[in-house]
């Protein structure tokens, strides 16, 4: 399982735990990161630049350090 996919799952879990609007919150993170989270699957190869952007976006939108 790639690191990117792991991050995506943690983000989805946080959204679910907080009962936030899933699509809207994911959309905000995607717009912040610059790519859609729907394309991240278990086989998506890791890309350090994308991992950094996703972490920064999650920090900004959800306020969590992944």
């Amino acid at each position: 399982m790639s690191q990117l996919y792991d991050l995506r799952q943690k983000i989805d879990k946080t959204i679910e735990d907080r009962s936030m609007d899933l699509y809207k919150t994911r959309g905000m993170i995607a717009l912040e990161a610059g790519f859609a989270l729907g394309f991240i699957s278990a086989s998506t190869p890791d890309d350090n630049d994308k991992i950094d952007k996703l972490r920064t976006a999650a920090q900004k939108i959800l306020g969590i350090n992944l």
């Binding site: 919150t25 717009l31 278990a42």
Partner: protein, 387 residues
């Protein structure tokens, strides 16, 4: 800065400018009203004063004409019977003084020497050089006008004194002090008056003596170059003006507006010339305009309050309208776009109206449809390749 904020600031600026213009127009109208009230007060005072002078000149002239033809006085004067003249004039002068306010009665010889002052037997033999006398002498007719004595103004009328055969034998003069004019003016115009005289025509010691005799404080130093010799109101409003009153135009001039507690007064003045045409002083006019002033002040406050409320209501209304017609629709578009990116491919942008924003909504909805199809295809391919 958000467009909403910019629009809000713009609306506020426009409203502030509009309010400023309205208030400026109001202030101008207020000043014009004040000017009209002042000019009317000054004109009433000026005309009233001139009428009083004219009427009293006429009354003194009529009295003088009667006296000149009366042999009771002419004979002792022609015969230079001083005691006889004193005896015959005394009871009549007493009547004049008490009933008609006539305070001066002169018999003047051809060379200008005062033969008798019926009002002051002790003083005679001096040379009369007043402008009214000179006018009568030069014109061989009536000479009249206001003349400043040592401490007061007097209205004087002089006429050539003729014998049976119309030969000139001297001059007769009647005069009255003009203080009572101001009480009459006050009753007629509902304003207060003060008579100011240039100090250069008065004697400081004489004035101090007069004030002392009347039991009044010496007011010589109240004004730098003028002296208040009479007033209808004992108030510093009449005396506190320190400006130049001698160079005001003949028709008068508005000086200032004074607020004192809940009262408001306008102050104005017009010059007073003596019989020789010299500008010797000024008549100060004090008009209580509290009723008009309070009304106008109230109107100004009401207009100001109305403007503020009206502009606040309009600002809220305009911002609410812009919010509803533009910003909330853009917010909806942003919301749908965000959800689509987040994977909600069912959310659609609704075209809410057939206007400029509606065109943008329609375009973005078309774009969304293409984008969603592309995303779904890409995700499917992504899923297939991962399987």
């Amino acid at each position: 800065m958000q467009i909403k904020t910019k629009v809000g600031i713009s609306i506020c600026i426009i409203f502030i400018i509009t309010a400023g213009i309205v208030l400026a127009i109001f202030a101008r109208s207020w000043n014009r009203s004040l000017d009209i009230v002042t000019r009317q007060s000054l004109r009433s005072a000026r005309v009233g004063f001139d009428n009083l002078v004219e009427n009293d000149v006429r009354a003194l002239s009529a009295t003088l004409a009667g006296l000149i033809g009366d042999e009771t006085f002419r004979d002792p004067y022609v015969n230079k019977d001083l005691e006889g003249l004193k005896a015959t004039t005394a009871p009549l002068f007493s009547q004049f003084k008490n009933i008609h306010g006539i305070t001066h009665w002169y018999f003047i010889d051809l060379d200008g020497t005062c033969y008798l002052r019926a009002h002051n037997h002790g003083k005679r033999g001096d040379l009369i050089e007043r402008a009214t006398f000179k006018k009568a002498k030069e014109s061989n007719s009536f000479g009249s006008g206001i003349e400043l004595g040592k401490t007061a103004f007097a209205l004087r009328v002089v006429y050539p004194y003729l014998d049976h055969d119309n030969n000139l034998i001297g001059y007769m003069e009647l005069g009255e002090e003009i203080e009572h004019f101001f009480e009459i003016l006050k009753d007629e115009t509902d304003a207060d008056y003060g008579l100011l005289v240039s100090k250069e025509f008065l004697n400081r010691d004489d004035w101090a003596s007069v004030r002392k005799t009347k039991g009044l404080a010496d007011n010589w130093d109240d004004h730098p170059n003028l002296l208040m010799i009479d007033s209808t109101r004992d108030s510093d409003l009449l005396t506190s003006y320190q400006g130049d009153l001698l160079n005001i135009p003949t028709e008068g001039k508005f000086l200032d507006l004074v607020e004192q507690g809940e009262k408001a007064f306008i102050r104005g003045a017009f010059p007073i010339n003596d019989a020789a045409g010299r500008k010797v002083g000024a008549i100060f006019v004090l008009k209580d305009i509290s009723e008009i002033y309070i009304g106008m002040k109230g109107d100004r406050m009401r207009v100001g309050a109305f403007l503020i409320v009206a502009m606040l209501v309009m600002a809220v209304f305009l911002l609410a309208m812009v919010q509803r017609l533009v910003f909330s629709r853009f917010a909806n578009v942003i919301d749908v776009a965000t959800r689509v990116v987040g994977g909600d491919y069912e959310s659609k942008i609704t075209v809410t109206a057939n206007d400029e924003v509606g065109e943008v909504e329609n375009l973005l909805e078309q774009f969304r449809a293409v984008f969603v199809n592309t995303l779904e295809l890409a995700e499917k391919q992504n899923k297939d390749s991962s399987e």
